[in-house]
């Protein structure tokens, strides 16, 4: 007999303060885009994610022709051919143009990275991948069923990776290309060499048990980084080609010959980009020739004129500069599988152009807003093609183009400016997921700027995320100490990806003879290395002596400990954790080395200081800062809550033995597994007939001290874990010869990783989602209010890690009105002053989310903050939807 839990009966309550009653409360502020952009937005809403084979076809064809060529030059030629053959498409109403592929939401597979996952699922290659434990993450991921996701094949459209639609007639070509990369892709070649690592067998078992979610070398080798638009803005495309010419003359024939191949590769690719831009200009002229409406015709011709100019020259005005920035943003996205390619502090980069145009009366606030909204649509249209596990399980379909506002200037003053005020305004009028905003909070920022940030947060889309400038600078100065980062450079940082603190540099942009120091990224991708370790699953292995109890397979060698004390449990955990990091560091280093050889980054390298100076690409340490490999974790709060429960219940109070706890865990405390019920939050689980047998133990587990309540018992364990984690990462050395460091973002992995983990000692049930972020409490367990949660969250020094993440859900009524806004800012400031690195909010009535789950059609535009990013509700997987609903809602008090 099973019985359905109703909401009141659940062991956790998701409210702090009054449980809202009466009508569902809508978000307080709602604005509309300009008519031009609203049309584009509606077009977007009605567009499905679409894949194209055009780019990989031309890439592969040219690649094959150049057998024997120097690899980086061969790749540059292949990319050049692909860019030159990319069909241009301009959509009605656009004033910023160009995209990854001809479709509005277009992208394409990159078989040179990995060809296995889009091969026919019953094919031999797929089975081989399965055997190597690579597909496990895909198998446990649920993809959002709505919005632009193509989850099932329809008519002549085939669904691939659970998200993208591909025209049926292109499928044979895709398979044909894929076969050409068999045994040659980064994935396959890397796999061949990673097996040389001692303990490789353990790595396969770790991947199969989903203790680690992904290899980073061939899934998303770039991203989680900040773009640098300095060179195109300062020199123009032709100008950079001239630099390459000069450099080739200086280096040809001298030792360190890799440099000339790099410069040659950059030169070739820039030629490809020039043709690509020209093709768009041609398309604009063609569109103009068809257009009847005089003003639209004028716009097309204007686009053509602008693109023609930018083929060779530097920007003349704000509109030019924005278009040029976008050209290079897309160019980099087309070069590699990338998520989290962030524009950085764009409002500061473009300010000199904007200010001049405004001063000269060439631009108005209204026109600026229209351009910024158009830019938002372009960023929102970006799709990232990867496997279902990556796109759904990690990214929730998001591409993390993080735009930062605020922070400090090179000389340490507030960097906030009026263009950034308009950027925030455009994020309210055109509330699409991208670019997501982060506000780099510093005490020096002006109050009206901060209030604008609050106003934007209150619209409920989850941005800006509030991040702590000083904590980030502390982290950077420590992390890049050896590479010589100074105070001024530390101020040039921004967020790359969803929450990765990324190193930047100040570059001297000359506009009208005046030098402006603009910030931009100067390090390769962060968040490569050891990606998403499921801490509760490692603890599970400790309790079951190295086994994945779900499958019965052995993951780790037996630790052979009797586990007679808490200390033994903790020591065994550290042992397994360390061995996991060790083997994954080595195998990922190999994959990334192979990536750098087969598929090196050329455009991105060219943009990043100081690759053009050194003549080395980013995979060969060409950039200024290179300590970028990290270890990412997931489920830290569940780990610590479980340790607290074991320590207290088993070893101190002796309420039950460890063996009994293990039985309870296997019995899932008398509940049906989440996979059977399809509900992934603790509050909606279904009891089975043995519920009463385990009730007392489950209650004791739930009642054990929980993180988020300012309880020193568990907070001290949390702190011990944090300090251990950051210290132990330093013991492992990346491909670039630098120590690894700790990074704490769960993105969406807390869903799928929770799905394969048994019940945990903190009372969480089998298959349910872990706590999100890194310092968010487990939903419903933070019973002592926001201030207690803030205290717990700041019990350790956040600058030990690249980030920390606190997600809160606030009912709109709690921060309503002008006074509500002021108090909200005080609350945000207080957390950051206490040393918190990041806080973000969902300002939403949970009942609205439940309604949206039931009636997705009514909520096409509803967005929520997940963990470091904002996404359309209907495009989220159910695991994540359930978790967001379950989060404690801070309502009116």
């Amino acid at each position: 007999m099973t019985e359905q839990n109703n909401f009141l009966e659940c062991p956790v309550s998701n409210y702090y303060g009054d449980v809202p009653k009466g009508e569902i409360q809508a978000r307080e502020i709602h604005k509309q885009p300009t008519p031009r952009v609203e049309k584009i937005r509606q077009l977007y809403f009605n567009t499905q994610s679409s894949a194209s084979v055009e780019f990989p076809y031309w890439y592969t064809r040219r690649w094959e022709e150049l057998e024997g060529e120097i690899p980086i030059v061969r790749r540059a030629e292949a990319l050049k051919a692909a860019f030159e053959h990319s069909t241009p498409a301009i959509y009605p109403g656009e004033i910023l143009v160009m995209g990854k592929a001809p479709f509005l939401r277009g992208s394409y597979p990159m078989p040179w990275l990995s060809e296995a996952f889009f091969m026919a699922q019953e094919g031999e290659l797929y089975q081989a991948a399965l055997d190597a434990g690579k597909v496990s993450a895909d198998q446990v991921t649920t993809m959002g069923q709505g919005g632009g996701n193509v989850t099932e094949s329809v008519g002549n459209v085939i669904s691939i990776a659970g998200k993208f639609g591909l025209r049926k007639e292109e499928m044979p070509m895709l398979l044909d290309i894929a076969k050409k990369w068999y045994n040659k892709s980064v994935d396959d070649v890397g796999h061949k060499y990673e097996q040389m690592v001692p303990g490789y067998h353990e790595k396969e078992e770790i991947m199969r048990a989903v203790i680690c979610m992904f290899d980073s070398g061939y899934t998303l080798p770039q991203g989680r980084e900040v773009m640098n638009y300095y060179y195109p803005l300062q020199y123009g495309i032709e100008g950079i080609k001239n630099i390459c010419d000069e450099k080739m003359k200086q280096t040809a024939g001298y030792p360190d010959m890799d440099r000339i191949y790099f410069y040659k590769a950059v030169y070739i690719i820039l030629e490809g980009i020039q043709t690509w831009v020209k093709n768009y200009a041609e398309e604009a002229r063609f569109m103009a020739s068809l257009e009847q409406d005089a003003s639209s015709k004028e716009e097309y011709l204007d686009i053509a004129e602008r693109l023609d100019w930018l083929v060779a020259h530097t920007p003349r005005n704000f509109h030019d500069a924005l278009q040029l920035v976008w050209i290079f943003h897309v160019a980099v996205l087309n070069e590699d599988a990338i998520s989290g390619l962030s524009p950085g502090r764009l409002g500061q980069i473009l300010y000199p152009y904007w200010k001049r145009d405004m001063d000269q009366g060439l631009l108005t606030n209204e026109k600026t807003l229209e351009l910024l909204e158009s830019m938002r649509m372009k960023f929102t249209e970006i799709d990232c093609f990867a496997s279902m596990g990556v796109v759904g399980g990690v990214l929730s379909g998001n591409t993390f183009n993080n735009l930062c506002v605020g922070g400090l200037t090179k000389d340490g003053n507030s960097a906030a400016n009026d263009l950034e005020m308009l950027i925030m305004e455009s994020a309210m009028t055109c509330d699409t997921p991208q670019p997501t905003l982060s506000l780099l909070y510093d005490e020096k920022l002006p109050e009206d700027f901060l209030m604008k940030g609050v106003e934007c947060t209150k619209i409920g889309t989850g941005y800006p995320a509030w991040v702590n400038n000083q904590v980030a600078m502390e982290f950077l100065l420590n992390n890049f100490k050896k590479e010589g980062m100074g105070l001024e450079e530390a101020r040039a940082w921004s967020i790359g990806g969803c929450l990765e603190t990324s190193a930047g540099s100040w570059m001297p942009l000359v506009v009208d003879g005046v030098t402006h120091y603009i910030p931009g990224g100067s390090a390769p991708a962060t968040s490569v290395g050891v990606h998403f370790l499921s801490l509760p699953k490692i603890l599970e292995a400790v309790l079951f002596d190295g086994l994945d109890k779900k499958t019965g397979r052995r993951v780790y060698p037996s630790h052979g400990l009797a586990l007679n004390s808490y200390e033994e449990v903790w020591e065994a955990f550290k042992k397994y954790f360390d061995s996991t990091v060790e083997v994954l560091t080595l195998t990922n280093n190999i994959q990334h080395d192979v990536w750098g050889r087969i598929s090196p980054s050329i455009i991105n390298s060219m943009l990043k200081p100081d690759c053009l100076d050194t003549g080395r690409d980013i995979s060969r340490k060409g950039s200024r800062y290179n300590r970028t490999f990290n270890v990412e974790i997931c489920g830290g709060v569940n780990l610590v809550n479980s340790l607290a429960s074991i320590k207290k219940n088993v070893f101190e109070d002796k309420s039950f033995t460890l063996d009994v706890l293990k039985e309870a865990i296997v019995a899932n405390f008398g509940y049906a597994p989440a996979a059977e019920t399809g509900a992934y939050s603790l509050s909606e689980q279904v009891k089975d007939s043995h519920y009463n047998d385990w009730l007392k133990i489950h209650k004791q587990c739930l009642d054990a001290p929980k993180y988020g309540n300012d309880d020193i018992y568990v907070d001290s364990l949390f702190r011990e874990w944090q300090e251990y984690f950051s210290a132990t990462c330093e013991n492992y050395i990346s491909l670039y010869g630098e120590p690894l460091y700790s990074c704490q973002i769960s993105v969406s992995t807390h869903g799928p990783m929770g799905a394969v983990t048994l019940a945990t000692a903190d009372g969480r049930l089998d298959g349910t989602t872990f706590a999100d972020g890194s310092v968010s409490a487990y939903p419903g367990s933070d019973k002592s209010g926001p201030y207690a949660l803030f205290s717990s969250a700041t019990c350790y020094n956040h600058s030990l890690s690249q980030n920390s993440q606190l997600n809160m859900k606030i009912h709109p009524s709690a921060i309503a009105g002008r006074e509500g806004a002021r108090k909200f800012l005080e609350m945000i400031k207080s957390y950051l002053r206490k040393g918190g690195f990041h806080i973000q909010f969902n300002v939403v009535d949970s009942r609205m989310l439940k309604d949206a789950q039931a009636h997705p059609d009514k909520y096409r535009g509803l967005m929520v903050r997940v963990a470091g990013f904002t996404q359309y509700w209907v495009e989220l997987g159910k695991q994540i939807q359930d978790e967001v609903i379950a989060r404690t809602e801070y309502s009116e008090i």
Partner: protein
Amino acid sequence: MELASQIPGTIFDVQGFSVHDGPGARSLIFLKGCTLNCFWCSNPEGIGIKNVPLYYASNCIDCGKCMDNCPVGAIRITREGHFIDRSLCMDCTDHQCVVECYTDALRFSGRKTTVDELYKVIQRDRPFWGSGGGITLTGGEPLFQIDFARAILEKCYDAYIHTAIETCGNVPWKNFEKVIEFLDWIFFDLKQMDTELHKGGTGASNEVITDNVMKLSGKFNGRVIFRLPLIPGFNDSDENFERIAALILKTKWREINILPLHHLGREKYESLGREYKGLSYPIPSKDKLLEVKSVFESKGITCYIGHETPF
């Protein structure tokens, strides 16, 4: 005499990020015990000073552990449900029934604390209020446990924390005298000016209350905001508004905050096994609230409705 820091008190909640009970973001401290017994009270568990079991039927699985552990046999479980004969457990202090309940169906209505312990929580919260925040003592009647209240307020005031109370006013004047020097702000309830009606709705006469208002006006230099819980059918007559306004105009303060009746306390009454008379009174209409506002404003008294306050 015991040390001020060790003075015990009984509270039933501390809530952070309270944004409607004083300036800024505040920590709200709920003290148990009240001298009135208003039929609409939204915190009925705070009326009695004693710690009693609250019973939430929706969490109960009828395991019977509470019944087995009650030394006086006050709990009966029948086909019709779960009954607590509260007259039998008036003197109980350890409440094994609550301790043994695994499902949180039985909970305590309050908890013992000390000035020191509570002050630790206040210190923890303080950095998070931001500018303009502080503490507000509410309840219950915050001046009922007067020694405890005084010690807390004094400690906070000395530490430059903004202090407020939300009082029903029905306490001896000497209680006010003990705390006013440590107070920045008072929310003072005025419910019904007719003595007999007041007695009917709250269980006590209003003479002490009106008397305290006038004394306060002479002695207290902080800000006072009067509060009128608006219960249609009980205190929404024009005459009542006129008389309240007249009293306010005799003081040096000119602000009133109307708190419209709501029915959110229903579950709490059920958990106490008490009848909720407030349920039979309607929630005031928006028009009515605007009407009340105009009555007060026409007399020069600034009137705020519900949470729409400028602080």
